[in-house]
Symmetry: D2
Subunit: 325 residues, 4 copies
């Protein structure tokens, strides 16, 4: 599957959360000892919107933020990065933007302290999703976390229905986060509903296990089941062991992870998805797209932030060339 | 489409609410002046389970009732009517069974005073739905009201997924009730999800309008859209003007309403669905099934209760013969 | 303490719940086998308002009922019994009136199946309590159940503050019901706050134990503690062993229970409080008031309903004369 | 009234919230443009506990914090400041510590962006308040914000009841914050309940207006009403116009505000209360205590943080001497 850049008014519209990351300024220590935090825009679909806009795609964002200083910062920052925020709405009931305090004890021991209770992004309503806006895009990018709770859940299901009715391709980034979900059965129910309607599904092996409601799932079983429905391409990431892409016509590709000096693990998946989409929009084949994705992930994990560190095309291609596999 | 009686261990499994109706003993007056109420089992899928069991089908029921006198009455009554209640669970958190006080001011002015806050039936969980049980049925009958709220919503979506994975036919009785739903967009979102996966969809014209999220919908548009997906038969009821059935291969049938002395309007839809299913299970064609359905509805509206008044085959056939159209 | 009848515009204003009782028509059996229910007004403060109005006192009621057939029945019925309902408000957010289905297995095995989730009476707000109305009463009668949840809790605390600021006597009927309360510590906290401000406190020994947050409490300890604060009279009921009244100046009275043919136990406490208040308003001494109270309780337990069975003065006095102790 | 230092095992136990302040590192600008935040312990009663401990009093704290990095930071920081945290509990249900992002646009334009949804401190329960611990203190300091919501509300009412039953003096710092409270009537109801039982009440004129449920209240009316109950001293702050203290025996004192270079307004009230208590515990008269309080407030508003900036005795006395009024 090739995505056509410039075919529609927008290349990509992302839907879901746009939040605040508060990254430890003093790191390699427990957060109890971190006294200063740096503010960034965060949230998987916001990062992908910024990441793909950075890479030259024409990107819009549908989501709800707080009607306060944090919400205004998010909207201003994203607009500054070239993302169309005309369909980003401000919550009128006093809800706050989500927060993620990041703790970096060591490159392999990273954790996040989340503030996700009653956050604005989960209160996007179906009425706030505009069919005309979605119709003008080549791709609708859906973040799985937006399915965690009503009414955001129904807003996303509505967006997907609009996309399907208007020949807009749906890309499902599973983006599983345990908070907010009420049960694993709910996760599996809604992930399955959306995955079956998506054209491309991207996630880690663990995330596909959540989708299937089981542990220790097998890639071949996963793709066999999902290819009964709409998906054309399925991307399954296995961390340092690399990542795999499967196509409906039966092809299988693998990319190894690039070597890098890891500072933290956050943001890798968002950079990965951004570069993968960039490549498909720029007439690269799936195998090459996997390389772009892996390289972008390697770049982000070596830097302090997620959104602010989204790489450029030349950074990605330089890394690929330097480590030609 | 013919349904095969006796093909599986169960002919029909209904999923959804089983509640208490409290019917006015003194009627043709406002409820303020009714001092005595008669207790019956109620709730659309419970009525259909009882109705089809009455007509000789082998029926089971999946649902949650209160762990109190009302819940025990429901379970005992349904078992007494031949319904398998082995998968009916009792709520362990003190939730109550739903109540419907019926007011009959005149045959054409009937209303219901509902107690639906925090009722047991809406707390059925996906974990309480047994794939093995569903696999043993020819038909899973889904009531739309069970989609109104989590976790019952996810329990039903899970049941539908189990049915689809095991070649069990899904019949969707839209059964729209305004209480409990948070917005019309939610109604449309979930009704559409289930209708697209159902083999037969049954509802009034108004209910199909809710499904489509618009007013004044047209039957031809409705069936054209839904026949893109799984449905094989669509039944749309227009009250006293009669009802229509459409088949995927393009046939269209109509049944007029039978004449009867109307006491109240409750229960008509449940009798209709019960007799329609009975007919399909007994090798009648769709046109005949519509007649059985209309006749059963006419019988119930002339009687005081819903569940207790579900007609027999001979009552239905007698009415059809007496008013051969 | 004597209460002065006619001293103020109103003798008594009761605050709290007014609900629907659905009494088993067929009794001496489990409720599962009861098929017909008789509708009555219920709820302790509503019963006391009706009971004292029946006995000739001038009574008003502050409370919130549903804006439906049940709420209108309650308001009409109470007004018909002479209770001023000008400060009874109808809930504007769709909440229902509470229900109590009564089960009478035998005279000593009675139970109640309550519908109390999200009921209108617990949503009375402080803004809906009128200081001018309370100021015009000799007595404010507070039902402890109205303290179970916000905002009814704050409405009652506000009413008590208005009463204290305007020399209106406060009578606290503990009326403990386990549903709705979140913890026994909450019960004890709010019961103590109100009891310390009340002029008369009435309850069973078990209810005073809830107030004190312990089991097996002793009457002497109870009254010693409460007489440090506002109370002048404390009435503690011990069921069939009779009831005790204590006065701040150190007097102690006892009344035995009257013999009667018990049909059920509901309503006894409300009749007791009504007759006790009647007697104090009619210049009886505390000892005589206890007799009136006990006789009224004996009459109600021999009849089918609570509100409808509240006795007249002559019925009470006849029983006292017939069983002169 | 003199408070006796060392009379009991503890001089002061504070009850209420201990939270996280995130103070703008780059200030004199809108928060949208602040990119870095400094972390401090915050929350009025935590600040007063730290402030009085700094001044040499023996202080304990009762409250609930998150079971995460922020909660552990709070406990460790307060213990490091000499506060006994043996009765500080960690929330076991995943609730977070409250956050306050401070915005300093200019010395007179300060605002706070609060995260208070479902925070741990408001879930302190009555069962987590230990009567033995309170009995060992000379003073229980109550923060009004802890009354905003159940179960913290009942925990505080329980603590006050324990204090009254054990001759522990109650000091009520009104500390009104609009978030969390459901209505102004609720504020007035609970503030009044606690103020009537307190020995000392401290607040701004606006806070006493909230307590009284009206606007533009008058100090003379306020103290006349409250002196009918338990209070011995009432302190009413009028911002830059200075503050007033009233004693039950009819004396009245005033202190002017000290001159200072204001950086921000946060923390002034907590420093004020800390120094006022210090003075009373150190045999100063009320007039002198007011001076200490005003001086401490002047010092804190000239510094960046609240908790970390709580002054020492010598700083306070130096300012008083330099600006001898």
């Amino acid at each position: 599957m090739r995505l056509k850049k410039g075919n529609k008014k927008m290349d990509i519209i992302a839907i879901g959360r746009a939040c605040i990351d508060l990254n430890a300024v003093e790191y390699n220590r427990p957060m109890e000892e971190t006294m200063t935090f740096q503010k960034y825009v965060g949230g998987s679909p916001a990062n992908i919107a910024i990441g793909t806009s950075n890479l030259g795609l024409n990107v819009g964002f549908i989501g709800k933020v707080s009607d306060d200083q944090h919400g205004r910062f998010i909207a201003t920052y994203m607009a500054g990065k070239g993302v169309d925020t005309s369909k980003m709405v401000a919550d009128q009931e006093g809800r706050k933007s989500g927060l993620a305090f990041t703790e970096i004890k060591s490159p392999s021991e990273c954790s996040i302290l989340m503030y996700r209770d009653n956050v604005a992004d989960l209160y996007l309503t179906p009425q706030e999703v505009d069919e005309k806006y979605i119709r003008e895009a080549e791709v609708l990018l859906v973040s799985g976390t937006a399915l965690a709770q009503s009414p955001s859940r129904e807003a996303v299901l509505t967006a997907v229905a609009y996309a399907k009715a208007n020949d807009v391709k749906v890309i499902f980034e599973i983006d599983y986060r345990p908070y907010t979900w009420k049960s694993e059965e709910e996760v599996s129910t809604y992930y399955t509903l959306v995955a079956q309607k998506a054209d491309i599904v991207i996630g880690t092996r663990d995330e596909f296990d959540m989708l299937e409601g089981k542990e220790g799932g097998d890639n071949q079983d996963t793709v066999k089941e999902l290819f009964k429905y709409e998906p054309e391409i399925i991307v399954i990431k296995h961390g340092v062991e690399g990542s795999f892409a499967y196509s409906k016509e039966g092809k299988e590709y693998k990319a190894n992870a690039y070597k890098t000096e890891v500072l933290k693990t956050f943001g890798a998946g968002d950079a990965y998805a951004s570069a993968f989409l960039y490549a498909l929009f720029n007439e690269k084949d799936v195998e090459t797209a996997l390389k772009y994705a892996s390289a972008a992930a390697a770049i982000v994990v070596s830097k302090h932030s997620s959104s602010e560190a989204m790489p450029t095309v030349s950074e990605i291609e330089e890394l690929i060339n330097n480590q030609s596999q």
